[in-house]
């Protein structure tokens, strides 16, 4: 009985410590929120207000006025990247997992190496190519560039997941007369829902947060993503930090929403890249 009560008390202590650690870790996120609500005249107050005592929404009004088109572009680029990544990665993952292709091992290795190439180097190569093709400053040029971050990851997730599908399921589809393509579309893909969600989640987040490609390949025009919106906001007026932080808050919303809605896919995606099983 005493043991039980002792362990209950210890568990409560752990919860308290856990909450404190989380609070410390998330302090910058809180601070971003707090600054986004701070009135301009209090911005340089010392000591700073630790709580938004006089909240103002002028920062958010500025976001709505200035940044909406950027948010739209980011959404477009994010969704485009998801579609492109799924279309390329899902069939390839199926082939690598199930069809015993010639050169499959080499391809797997190439994909691993592809993930190690710095984005800044890719950006320089893309700059030359896009210049030749007239693709600079275009949203679909950015979709192509952003997908290079997600495609190798996507193929690996699909390969790992699809090789875990029971063989009987696929054999049954064969017996029913389905060809490989039919089997893939109507048996393998629906069963792989978790992998589809994980890959979509990460391709969207990476495309949404991309700064390197946006900053090198998208120099002008109206169709610029939100990361550039914030970057230029900082460059042009480093006074209105409430507006900058309000934009940052808004730009973080997809990450927050996805974390809440798809928590277990997030954890699965982080580990899948590194550790087997």
């Amino acid at each position: 009985m005493t043991v039980h009560r002792g362990s209950a008390r210890r568990s409560r202590l752990h919860t308290v410590i856990g909450v404190l650690l989380t609070a410390v870790m998330l302090f910058p996120v809180y601070w971003m929120l707090n600054v986004s609500l701070t009135p301009q005249q209090d911005m340089r107050k010392s000591p700073p207000d630790l709580l938004p005592l006089h909240p103002t929404f002028e920062g958010y009004r500025a976001v709505l006025n200035d940044q909406m088109p950027y948010l739209g572009t980011s959404l477009l680029i994010g969704l485009g990247t998801v579609v492109l990544t799924l279309v390329l990665a899902a069939p390839a993952g199926f082939a690598l997992a199930r069809l015993r292709p010639w050169g499959g091992g080499f391809l797997g290795l190439a994909l691993l190496v592809a993930q190690m190439i710095p984005g800044i180097v890719m950006a320089m190569g893309f700059y030359g190519i896009f210049l030749d093709l007239g693709l600079l400053n275009s949203w679909w040029g950015l979709i192509i560039a952003d997908s290079t971050i997600a495609v190798p990851f996507g193929v690996m997730i699909f390969t790992a997941f699809m090789s875990g599908i029971p063989g009987e399921l696929i054999a049954a589809a064969r017996i029913d007369g389905a060809g490989t393509w039919r089997t893939f579309l109507s048996v393998v893909l629906p069963v792989s829902r978790n992998a589809v969600v994980t890959v979509s989640l990460f391709s969207f987040l990476w495309a949404w947060s991309d700064f390197v490609f946006a900053n090198t390949l998208d120099g002008g025009g109206d169709l610029r993503p939100i990361t550039l919106g914030i970057y230029h906001y900082i460059g042009n007026n480093n006074q209105e930090w409430n507006a900058i932080m309000a934009t940052a808050v808004v730009a973080s919303i997809p990450a927050a929403v996805l974390l809440v809605l798809a928590q277990r896919y997030v954890a699965a995606g982080v580990t899948a890249g590194a550790v087997k099983d």
Binding site: S46, L88, E168, L205, S252
Partner: protein, 327 residues
């Protein structure tokens, strides 16, 4: 990832057994060969888009980058595409540049200090969250937020927190009686500032991977250790740490490969400055290629290629460790 294992498993796959099981006798081997050829073609068709994509959007940009680093480019010749071949001149220029030494040193410091702290913090938190207590799962999920935020968001938030006059960090230092530091504009502190922000971003990744490694350690081992009277610290030293070693190796190597590439964070917070106090190979490469009105594409690409070489060394080490783990 698990390519080797995947191959092995697909060989055992009974996918074709339904068809081959029905035929017997002499014809079966010819039939089987034809079927195998057809399934090879099908596999190729499924892989073709990916292969074309990799050739067009990985190999070709990399080739262009290599080509860039071996030619003498000006803005005009970059557009016209008639830059003369200059061999390794760009590499010589870069290696002889006064920025090379500091950029290399900063890259090493940034990478190693970041992953050392990320790993230690991640491991401590993973061990902590491995206990059963209320809210453990929720809090662990919340820890992922810094990793999921767009880097521009984290970088600008940290910039404001590090602000010399109105930053909350200097205010906190003031409370404990330390005089304010001009974090981002001081040559002594700029690199430290970006390292601190980078550690914060990387902790979640380490936490999640190490936590999943801890989950695979059988609970009986701890029970046995506890029966033998091992303290919590002894259990960590004798059970947790040794059994986690393969996962730790993977985490550290992957962290190394990722951190070498970091560009956005440093660029947004300090632009590699002041001077080159916080410039790394990645920011220097960008600075040369895109940072000025008179871009030096050749040297920029040369720095990029040096960065690739370094990343590949650690990358191959990573692949080796992972292969050995799977064997």
């Amino acid at each position: 990832m698990t390519i080797a294992r995947v191959d092995r498993r697909s060989q055992r796959s009974p996918a074709r057994s339904g068809a081959t099981g029905a035929t017997h006798g002499k014809d079966s081997s010819a039939l089987r060969r034809r079927q195998r050829r057809r399934s090879r073609l099908t596999a190729l068709a499924f892989l073709a888009p990916l292969v074309v994509y990799l050739a067009a959007f990985y190999l070709y940009p990399l080739y262009r980058n290599l080509d860039l680093s071996l030619r003498d480019y000006t803005v005009r010749s970059f557009v016209a595409g008639d830059a003369p071949f200059s061999g390794l001149d760009n590499f010589r220029t870069v290696l002889g540049d006064p920025t090379f030494g500091p950029a290399m040193r900063h890259t090493m410091i940034f990478t190693f200090v970041s992953i050392a702290f990320q790993y230690v913090a991640g491991l401590a938190l993973a061990v902590f969250f491995n206990r059963h207590f209320r809210l453990a799962g929720t809090l662990r999920a919340l820890f992922l937020i810094p990793w999921l935020l767009p880097l521009i968001v984290s970088a600008s938030t940290w910039s404001w927190m590090f602000n010399s006059e109105s930053g909350v960090i200097n205010y906190a230092l003031h409370l404990v009686g330390v005089s304010p530091v001009d974090w981002l504009n001081s040559p002594d502190w700029a690199l430290t500032s970006v390292v601190i922000a980078n550690i914060w971003i990387g902790i979640p990744f380490n936490l999640v991977i190490l936590y999943s490694g801890l989950q695979n350690i059988p609970a009986e081992l701890y029970e046995a250790a506890a029966l033998d009277g091992a303290s919590a610290w002894q259990q960590f030293r004798r059970v947790t740490f040794p059994l986690l070693r393969p996962v730790s190796a993977i985490t550290l190597l992957l962290g190394l490969v990722y951190t070498l590439k970091v560009f956005d964070l440093i660029w947004i917070m300090t632009k590699g400055g002041p001077g080159d106090a916080s410039s790394t190979l990645a920011t220097w490469s960008y600075q040369l290629g895109f940072g000025t009105l008179l871009p030096k594409f050749g040297p920029g690409a040369a720095v990029g290629n040096i960065l690739i070489l370094i990343a590949l060394v650690f990358g191959l080490l990573y692949i080796r460790v992972q292969r050995r783990q799977e064997a």
